[in-house]
């Protein structure tokens, strides 16, 4: 009997394609002697498909063809078990396709990674890998992340968050406010997107307008913060749960511009991979972008990054594997937590490989962590027997009626 794991990926998100790559990488890494891996591809239209070709990234070039060869499914809870059923049902054919013991959400970005998909599992009572609804939602929202980390006494840059409608109502007021608060240069970000999408730097009021309007295309809420001019980016992954955490190696992603763009992160350099990781099997995704691994840090800096990363993990009540991105202000020698990815690109496997933990070993631990959380939850609602006292009203005469 193998453990049946549904790998959920895709979704209505700007990072849809990245998720397809990460899912394929993960499926390739997992131990198929132990696990039966069932792909569940969520289209940009939020429909779910399963099929044998869905872990093959190359097949996605012809998406309509791929989908026509795949099977649309629905999830159903029946007698305490979660089933994948064929949809629409065919006459005289069993709709049952598979039963799931565990879900592995490998999704990036809004509408999926932000707790939506986790909530869907939660509602079905299906145990799943990674952060729960609350932590996922917090991790996706840059403003909430900043507030929580600040509340936990962890170093973050100051920031100002506003509704885009306020800006379009009175743009000058917002601009003046930001100039007064931080001056230039500024970083402007949509509040709830990952992978650097919609993020830009502004050096004057003209650029600020452009930046805000760019961010507003992606989100209704916009976060502005002062931009560090002499800084490096450092990333570190954390794995575990509230009982035990562990930090990976640190990397320094190398960018072509002031900030690491979406292209830098996921479409890879390929030419100048001087310091690139020993990415496995030529697969693409985060595993193949430009980086220094391990990052050039002093022993104290590295220690601090690792401790802060674990503290951030706990402050957000994360679970499974996350990646924490830092900004290292070289002038002040100050480290700031920039953002938290509750489902990092490529699951940050390259950071763990550099720390001596194979991708397969990682997935093994993630499965056990998910099951452990489910046990803890089951324990909280430990009641199943018929209680002969349930019908009684203690000490009230009303019981006689």
């Amino acid at each position: 009997m193998k453990i049946q794991i549904g790998i959920f990926f895709g979704g209505k998100t700007v990072e849809h394609e990245v998720s397809v790559i990460t899912a394929a990488q993960t499926a390739a890494a997992m131990d198929t002697a132990k696990y039966e891996l069932i792909p569940v591809y969520i289209t940009k239209d939020n429909e779910m498909y399963t099929g044998s070709e869905l872990f093959d990234v190359a097949k996605y070039k012809d998406l309509p063809g791929l989908l026509s060869r795949s099977q649309r499914i629905v999830l159903l809870r029946e007698k305490g078990k979660i089933q994948l059923l064929r949809y629409p049902a065919k006459l005289f054919t069993q709709p049952f396709i598979a039963q799931l013991d565990l879900a592995f959400p490998i999704v990036h970005g809004t509408n999926v990674e932000d707790g939506s998909l986790q909530g869907y599992f939660q509602l079905h009572g299906l145990p799943y890998i990674g952060s729960d609804v609350g932590a996922s939602a917090c991790g996706m929202d840059k403003w909430v992340t900043k507030c929580l980390l600040q509340g936990a006494g962890l170093p973050v840059l100051p920031g100002y968050c506003f509704q885009s409608s306020y800006y379009f109502g009175d743009s000058q007021r917002i601009i003046s406010k930001l100039e007064e608060l931080y001056g230039y240069p500024l970083m402007v970000k949509p509040v709830n997107l990952g992978s650097s999408v919609g993020i830009s730097a502004a050096h004057d009021s003209e650029e600020l307008k452009e930046s805000i309007e760019l961010a507003a295309a992606f989100s209704d809420r916009i976060l502005a913060e002062p931009m560090l001019t002499n800084m490096r980016e450092i990333n570190c992954a954390v794995m575990g749960d509230s009982d035990y955490t562990e930090a990976s190696a640190c990397e320094e992603p190398l960018s072509t511009g002031e900030i690491l763009s979406y292209q830098d992160k996921y479409q890879g350099g390929g030419k100048n991979q001087a310091a690139a990781s020993k990415s496995s099997g030529g697969s693409k995704g985060m595993g193949s972008s430009l980086r220094k691994l391990p990052a050039e840090l002093t022993a104290e800096q590295e220690e601090e990054v690792k401790i802060l990363a674990q503290k951030a993990f706990l402050a957000l009540n994360c679970h499974g594997v996350i990646r924490v991105d830092f900004l290292l202000d070289q002038g002040e020698n100050q480290i700031y937590i920039n953002e938290v990815n509750t489902i990092p690109g490529s699951l940050a496997f390259y950071l763990w490989e550099a720390a001596g933990k194979s991708f397969r070993q990682m997935t093994e631990e993630l499965v056990q962590l998910a099951l452990k959380r489910q046990r803890a939850q089951d324990r909280l609602i430990w009641s199943n027997e018929v209680n002969i006292l349930s019908g009684m009203h203690w000490g009230t005469k009303g019981a006689k009626n």
Binding site: K79, R375, W382, S383, V386, N387, L389, M392, W394
Partner: protein, 546 residues
Amino acid sequence: MFSVVLFVLLGSFIYFFWGGFRQSVHMLQLNSYYTERFLQWLKGQQRKEAVYLMAAMIVISFSIRYVMSIYLYLIFNALIFFVVALIRKKQPDKKPLVYTWRLKRLMITASLICIAFILSLGVLFRGTFWWELPFLLAFLNLMVHTIVIVANFLNGPIERRIAKGFTDDAKRILTGHPGLKIIGVTGSYGKTSTKHLISQLLSLDYQVLATPESYNTPMGVVRTIREKLSATHQVFIVEMGAKKPGDIKEICDIVQPHMGIISSIGEMHLDTFHNLDNIIRTKFELADAVAKEGLLFLNYDNEHIRKQKLSQPVVRYGLGKAGEDNQQLDLWAENVVSGPKGSQFDLCFADGRRIACQTKLLGKLNVLNIAAAAAVATKLGVEPSRLSQAISRLEPVPHRLQLLPPGPRYQIIDDAYNSNPEGSRQALETLAGFPGYKVIITPGMVELGDQEEELNRRLGRHAARFCDFIIIVGQNRSPAIMDGARRAGYNESNIYVAADIHDALEKADQLAGDLAEGEGPMTVLLENDLPDNYLDAGKGKQARRK
């Protein structure tokens, strides 16, 4: 017209018949479809109502059958069935009837017997069949238990075949799960608690499945495997119950346990085991099953277990004696202090390690059960240093010395599923540790064979020592309990014999209300409440919930 009348008659008869029929199959189900045990329940039953009804029908019908038409006659009889059904006393079920497939098959067979019976007598009384029909129906009602027994007998072969199919399926599932650690738990008492506690401690590191509630029969185990076991499980804990020799072996043959725990041996189910030797032999069937490569965990506080000579690897646990060297134990609890807030103790290992623990579970027996769980957990690689925290978080097992959240007038220690002499005494001692006014509600103990009366008398004596008030549920065992209390010099005005559990709780309400200043708070121990088939049938008060 005649068919309408017939329809009315049969309709009201079925409505009438259903009550007895349902009760009968319900009791058979509660007695696990064992005819013998069902008959034992039946012995205590009075079928006066059915006999009177039969007699009344004969008298009335013979006096009116020559003066009215067949229509009126049948309608009149239909009315009798209907009225009797309406005024019949109903009792709420404590354990509901479950419409399993087996039960449905039984009901179908029983219905077929009824129809065959009516039809064959119809041939016999050809001429006057319609006139005799009401008697035949009343007679059918009188025979309801017999019909159910015959149906059960007829279904036997097919049920056994179906059961074998399920068992084979369960075995196949286990074969496909080679990494699964299987732990068997048996004992005269304490096995459900031990199972729960092992499950909670092992959950620190493992995905655990345990047979739910008190599913401890072969079919209960098979059902758990078929319905609950999933690929993610790493440990399967099987509670093994026995009422006769061979029962444990039967379960072991299905699951083939790697580890076994014998939590206690005592005088349980003496009515089916007949003597203690049989009990010991049956429990140690588990020892034989794990003999080859497995590990056996034994409660060395129990003299019957201690006496056994075994040549296989064992882990011995118990409550050690402070100050003495507990050489014959591998793991024990020492310095046990129990009170109304739970217990504190030191968990000691043979290598000299000691871990200070505390638990909110009540009573020393629970400390013993925790020692068993800790022994299993350590053998399966749970780090002893983590046990202390896990033990402090252990949750009580429902209905087993479980302190319920306090009600507005008094708090309840729910020990309702306990039914052994040793456990009862410990429960009373636990109650004694509570401040204020102490009340016990108990129907006494059953299934103890010849010793039942003596043991209930002893229960009365202990209750007299520790309780300010004794409420006995039902008449059956109340004389023995009262006798015990009386001999201990207990004031009889502080004993109340309640008709049923609702009456008993109402009495407790009243006591709480009458409590004088300074006498409180009041604590009620709910001891040995039993499933439906032991309640004094027909003597209960009218059901309150309708």
